[in-house]
């Protein structure tokens, strides 16, 4: 049996969502191109419009402010690159934080290579950015601020409404990477005072490969993909209708169950919190209160997080390590490093992320197995070797 505690990476597609998607693909009506002017095309267009209306309603937006994309990363890139392309300024200034997802950080790196100047504001030991630091970083050339709502690795919630208010006051655009927040927290674009907000279906029970971007009316944005006039001329290409219908149904269900899920995760989190209480030298890396309760990020000092993750996998428990591993390099998590953790502490970190279907029994079993593995790993691993990988070592990952 598999215990899946990696819901921040992806959630399982909900059966109700699959039914909604199947009705598009295999229902009694033909599935057409929503841009076609015949009855089949118009019927398909109506399905898409209904999905857009559902999403817009939940986010507090207007229908025409929702742009469907091929996922969260595409939405983020459309927001960041699209604003720069549309602004008409030669070298605009962009502000973000050191703990953003790579979709944001690498898009910013690309923009910096094209002449933009980028400021990354630091975070505190819990991963929170101080809105004052954002305010101080704003210059007359600042075009956009981009901050994630919820951190994917540690679950820390950022003070988005405060940042939104100051951006609005200073006349700077705000993009919110809400990929880990939508479907889990209440997200209202008016309350947040954001101009752009990206989200992804597979983080809340929808299909992979579909996401969206909220674009406040009047926000200057240029498309990245050119072609037809789809998605308000901001994203050319025939839409993924089944995916869009699935996204809307998943979001509708997640919104209905949101408060119950938060309550459920708070209870399950208490079980996971037994690990720092019952084992020596375990650090809780998430913010104690301002954290999405489905995520628990823990550092097991003197224990290799990668080995722990692999051992749990062998025992049927799927979690995630915070470290990325590429050929010849074991890089510690940039998020944990930005929070001030040492390399060794970052290499001992793992993330447990729960979903709506996670049970107390599964979490209890995870705690028991994790304790056993950590105790054994601490015995056999030399602390100085954790996270070390010499340049001449040809180690690699295979699937």
């Amino acid at each position: 049996m598999t215990i899946y505690l990696d819901h921040n990476a992806t959630t399982q597609l909900r059966p109700e969502v699959w039914d909604a998607m199947a009705s598009v693909e295999f229902g009694t009506e033909l599935r057409g191109n929503p841009s076609s002017v015949h009855r089949v095309g118009v019927a398909t267009m109506r399905q898409m419009a209904a999905a857009r209306h559902t999403v817009a309603g939940i986010l507090g937006a207007q229908d025409k402010e929702i742009v469907f994309t091929g996922g969260g990363s595409e939405a983020i890139n459309l927001a960041l690159q699209g604003v720069v392309r549309a602004c008409g300024k030669p070298n605009p200034h962009l502000i973000s934080t050191t703990v953003e997802h790579h979709a944001v950080l690498h898009a910013l790196e690309s923009l910096a290579a094209q002449g933009c100047s980028v400021t990354l504001c630091p975070v505190d030991v819990t991963g929170r950015v101080d809105p004052q630091a954002i305010a101080e970083a704003i210059t007359p050339d600042t075009l956009l601020v981009s901050v994630m709502f919820v951190n994917n690795e540690v679950g820390t919630i950022q003070p988005i409404a405060q940042i939104g208010a100051l951006c609005r006051e200073r006349g700077v655009l705000l993009h919110v990477d809400a990929v880990q927040a939508v479907g889990k927290l209440r997200v209202d674009v008016a309350d947040l005072q954001c101009d752009l907000l990206s989200f992804s279906a597979h983080k809340f029970g929808g299909p992979q490969g579909v996401g969206g971007l909220y674009v406040r009316q009047g926000t200057p944005l240029a498309p990245l993909v050119h072609g037809g006039p789809q998605e308000w001329k901001l994203r050319a290409g025939t839409q993924n209708i089944a995916g869009i219908v699935g996204l809307a149904e998943a979001l509708r269900l997640a919104e209905q169950e949101r408060e119950g899920n938060l309550e459920h995760w708070l209870q399950l989190r208490e079980i996971l919190y037994r690990l720092p209480r019952e084992l020596e030298a375990v650090r809780v890396n998430s913010h104690p209160d301002l954290t999405l309760p489905n995520v628990v990020n823990l550092t097991f000092m003197y224990c290799d997080g990668m080995a722990l993750c692999m051992n749990l996998s062998m025992r049927g428990i799927c979690i995630s390590t915070s470290s990325a591993c590429t050929a010849g390099d074991l890089s510690p998590s940039h998020v944990l490093k930005a929070m001030g953790l040492s390399d060794m502490a970052a290499h001992g970190a793992v993330r447990f992320s729960m979903g709506r279907s996670t049970t107390a029994e599964e979490v209890e079993q995870t705690v028991a197995v994790t304790k056993e593995i950590v105790e054994n790993l601490r015995l056999v691993t030399h602390p100085d070797d954790i996270g070390k990988c010499k340049d001449d070592c040809p180690c690699f990952l295979t699937g």
Partner: protein
């Protein structure tokens, strides 16, 4: 009988070689009491482990080390605890 599995890269790195030495010492310390298999990462059997970070040393289904050389004494103690007690 405890089973030691060592997964190495086809072109063994220094850590793979150190792990081989370590296993040789274990086999010497526990003669006839351990089963030992060495696989390289291209072997079909390795697929069952999913993600592999060589050198990877397993004692039964416990991954004692991934990408590292484990501490010999601690590993020997772990293995000794798995052996049937002498009456």
């Amino acid at each position: 009988m405890p089973k030691i599995t060592l997964i190495v890269t086809p072109k063994k790195c220094h850590k793979c070689l150190q792990c081989e030495d370590l296993v040789a010492r274990l086999l010497e310390q526990f003669p006839g009491q351990l089963e030992f298999v060495e696989l390289d990462t291209t072997a079909e059997e390795v697929q069952q482990f999913g993600v592999v970070l060589p050198p990877m040393l397993l004692v039964d289904d416990f991954i004692a080390a991934a990408g590292k050389v484990p501490i010999y004494d601690a590993l020997a103690k772990l293995i000794a605890a798995k052996l049937p007690k002498e009456s």
